[in-house]
């Protein structure tokens, strides 16, 4: 099984919907398990990336921890892939990009309805929010993009099998969706 390719996955500012869609390849999962070994991923619960062939990034970059995680993936993955609308353009979390961060935080922690003990969290353990939710390609170099919200299971399958078979990944018309 020395030929298995190693894949790491992560969800930054995403909803894990893209991960769910990956699992949606159904019985092909068994086939995939023969070809692919998962490294850091919510699927394995491995917490740190080792050297990998492919890194799949779900979600945009909304805080400092996302930046560190994304950099870890970039460092360890030969091919880094932005997966889904949020990774590609910020997606639904990106709706906050049109509201000043001050307003977002004060609504949530200071003067929103039902807020008790109003204060903005300042524990150094917590990652700080970036002013906006950024697409991953604006923070590190990205090699490939799989659009969709989420990308269909077939998109993952097509991409991974293309890479496994040594082809340049490509998506036919039916597999390209932004929604």
């Amino acid at each position: 099984m020395a030929d298995k390719i190693k894949v790491a996955t992560v969800s930054l500012a995403g909803c894990f919907g893209c991960h769910m869609s990956l699992l949606d390849i159904d019985e092909r999962l068994l086939q995939l398990a023969d070809l692919v070994a998962f490294d850091r991923s919510p699927i394995t619960d491995i917490k740190r990336c080792t050297e990998c062939d492919i890194g799949l990034i779900e979600g945009g970059v909304c805080n400092s921890e996302n930046v560190h995680t994304l950099r870890e993936f970039r460092k360890h993955c030969k091919i880094l892939v932005a997966v889904g609308a949020c990774a590609i353009n910020g997606g639904l979390p990106g709706y906050r990009n049109y509201i000043p961060l001050e307003e977002c935080l004060s609504e949530s922690y200071l003067d929103g309805i039902g807020v008790e003990n109003p204060q903005i969290p300042s524990d150094p353990e917590l990652p700080l929010l970036l002013d906006k939710v950024y697409p991953v390609h604006e923070v590190v170099k990205i090699d490939y993009f799989l659009p969709g919200c989420p990308p269909a299971a077939d998109v993952f399958w097509k991409f991974l099998t293309d890479v496994l078979d040594g082809r340049d990944p490509s998506l036919p018309y039916e597999l390209i969706h932004y929604d």
Partner: protein
């Protein structure tokens, strides 16, 4: 206000095509365009209010929100920067207690940057309520601040603050022999109008705005159109940074320019002409109107010119701060009182121009030269210059030289010759034709000014070895992003993307792929834009990248990728609100793994 607006609209015959002129007068009186004026004008001119708003928001000198009683603008041209513009602006901000882009709390004064005001030979320059201020320095700024703080009416300000020099350093064929008033028209009537057009054809005169279309051919095309109404338009929207020769021609040779327009009119059969004067040259407006009056009294303009039975008159229209209006079809849109958005071509203005009628649009210098040719003949003109570029070219020279000003040379003159004559030392390179032209390096000073080599509308900006190429590219790229009309995607979005990309490299955040990205953006904007502005907007990047690839490479970090924005800066707000400054509350711009 109601009465003022009503009188104003009446003065302009309630015509929508006068909208820009009307709005200029409202801005000048109220220092903005009040909502009430918009409603009233929409009714009086019978146009949707949205059209008025779109015109106000298009032109830099018109505003929907109040500006100061004294509207101060500082020229942001690279030539002004080279004359210490930045520190003078800081001084001004300090003296007047107003930020750039803001109105002071008491409403007395507003301050902002503006694109090149055409005073590069006597900068740093500025404008107050539309009138040019020259040779700004600390003592002048002290005086200006004092005048403003005393609320001294503009009319009472000392004249020396507004004094504009011609700075004609090297007159040539045309500037040495200005024609007598009426001489060109008399020659033309004597020789015959057809024969005079043939004479201009033979002279080889080509458009002096830079594009170089044969003048006689343009006139002949227009004359050949079937419609009965035709128009002559003189393009005095001299907005290319570094150009100011039309300012001088209109200040000291306006008769000859108007005579050239009249000559064109009698040849093509036009009864109405327009001088489209850039708003920055408001200081010339009254004296130009006087000259038109003199010409009417002398029988050179108006009804029955020189008793030859031909009628022609000229109106002056003022621009309001939009570089794009130098493009001929945008200029025509602006003359019609609209936003200056270039039209689709074909049809060209010679077939469908002003109000859809055949229109000749020529540069100030073209009309100026045409009238001299009518007097002195084709050979007199054509014997100067080269085979493909006959005659002389009037240049505006500024930047690092001892004698900035106006120089007239025969086409074919080398760059080295003019550098020697204007007293330029240790020259790094020269921007020929303004930001939309070409940056040439010291290796190329044997190149010639000619349509077949270095075509130019006349702007020559000299940079010595103490200058940084990136300051120049940065300034020019910002200029185009500011002046893009926004009509087409590649220019509207592309010039702003190019600005971001240049900023990234300029600020030292460029990485390996960024120059390639810059080049690709430049190619897209150049190849796909709707008009000349977009097609040349990437020239500062592309022409310097071609000549100094190593400078660009040296500016890049030796890493494969760097974010396109300031990562740590993006945490500022959260840091402030969480009152944190620990190590985990910061991000490095580049990861340690890259």
């Amino acid at each position: 206000m109601k009465q003022f607006i009503q009188d104003l609209a009446e003065k302009h015959n309630n015509q929508a095509k006068q909208l820009l002129q009307i709005l200029r007068e409202i801005q000048s009186r109220y220092h903005y365009i009040p909502e009430q004026a918009i409603e009233q004008l929409a009714g009086l001119l019978a146009i949707p209010r949205t059209r008025i708003i779109s015109v106000v928001e298009f032109y830099s000198f018109l505003h929907l929100a109040p500006r100061g009683h004294y509207e101060l603008l500082i020229s942001d041209c690279i030539a002004d920067h080279m004359q210490d513009k930045r520190s003078l602006t800081d001084y001004l901000v300090d003296k007047l207690n107003v930020a750039v882009g803001a109105v002071r709390e008491d409403g007395a004064v507003s301050l902002d940057n503006t694109s090149c005001t055409g005073m590069c030979d006597q900068g740093p320059a500025g404008m107050v309520n539309g009138y040019a201020l020259t040779r700004l320095d600390r003592s002048r700024i002290d005086r200006i601040a004092d005048l403003i703080n005393r609320r001294e009416p503009l009319a009472a300000w000392p004249a020396d603050l507004f004094y504009v020099d011609d700075n004609i350093v090297r007159p040539g064929l045309l500037l040495k022999q200005p024609i007598m008033q009426g001489a060109a028209l008399r020659s033309a009537f004597k020789r015959g109008l057809k024969e005079t057009l043939a004479e201009i054809d033979q002279s080889g005169l080509r458009g002096r705005g830079g594009a170089g279309f044969k003048t006689a051919m343009k006139w002949a095309f227009c004359a050949g159109e079937a419609q009965s109404e035709r128009y002559v338009v003189c393009n005095a929207d001299e907005g290319e940074p570094g150009t100011f020769k039309d300012r001088v021609l209109l200040n000291s040779f306006a008769h000859q320019v108007f005579e050239g327009m009249t000559l064109c009119a009698v040849i093509i059969g036009a009864r109405q002409g327009f001088l489209y004067l850039r708003g920055e040259y408001l200081h010339l407006y009254d004296q130009l109107q006087d000259i038109l009056d003199q010409r009417r009294q002398a029988g050179l303009l108006g009804i029955n010119i020189l008793r030859e039975g031909l009628d022609f008159d000229i109106d002056i229209h003022l621009g309001a701060g939009a570089y794009i209006c130098g493009e001929e079809s945008a200029l025509i849109e602006s003359l019609e009182g609209k936003a200056g958005i270039p039209r689709n071509r074909p049809p060209y203005p010679v077939t469908q121009g002003y109000l859809g009628q055949p229109t000749v649009v020529n540069n100030v210098e073209t009309f100026f030269a045409a009238s001299a040719i009518a007097v002195n003949g084709a050979d007199w003109f054509a014997k100067a210059g080269t085979e493909k570029s006959q005659g002389t070219k009037i240049l505006s020279i500024s930047g690092d030289c001892a004698r900035p000003g106006i120089y007239e040379y025969a086409f074919g003159t080398t760059v080295q010759t003019l550098l020697n004559e204007c007293g330029a030392r240790n020259v790094l390179g020269v921007q020929i034709g303004g930001p939309s032209g070409t940056f040439i390096s010291s290796q190329e000073f044997d190149r010639k000014l000619a349509f077949e080599d270095l075509a130019t509308g006349g702007s020559v900006i000299i940079f010595n070895e103490s200058r940084d190429i990136f300051d120049i590219v940065h300034n020019f790229t910002h200029f185009f992003a500011h002046e893009s009309c926004g009509f087409c995607t590649p220019c509207r979005v592309g010039t702003s993307l190019l600005k971001k990309q240049v900023n990234k490299i300029y600020e030292g955040h460029g990485s390996a792929g960024d120059v390639a990205a810059l080049e690709e953006m430049g190619r897209l904007i150049k190849g796909y834009s709707h008009c000349g502005l977009g097609q040349t907007a990437a020239n500062p990047v592309l022409t310097t990248l071609e000549r100094y690839p190593e400078l660009y490479q040296n500016k890049l970090k030796k890493i494969s990728y760097e974010p396109g924005f300031d990562l740590d800066g993006a945490l500022d707000i959260a840091r402030r609100l969480a009152q944190r400054d620990d190590a985990a509350a910061h991000l490095s711009q580049v990861g340690d793994h890259d």
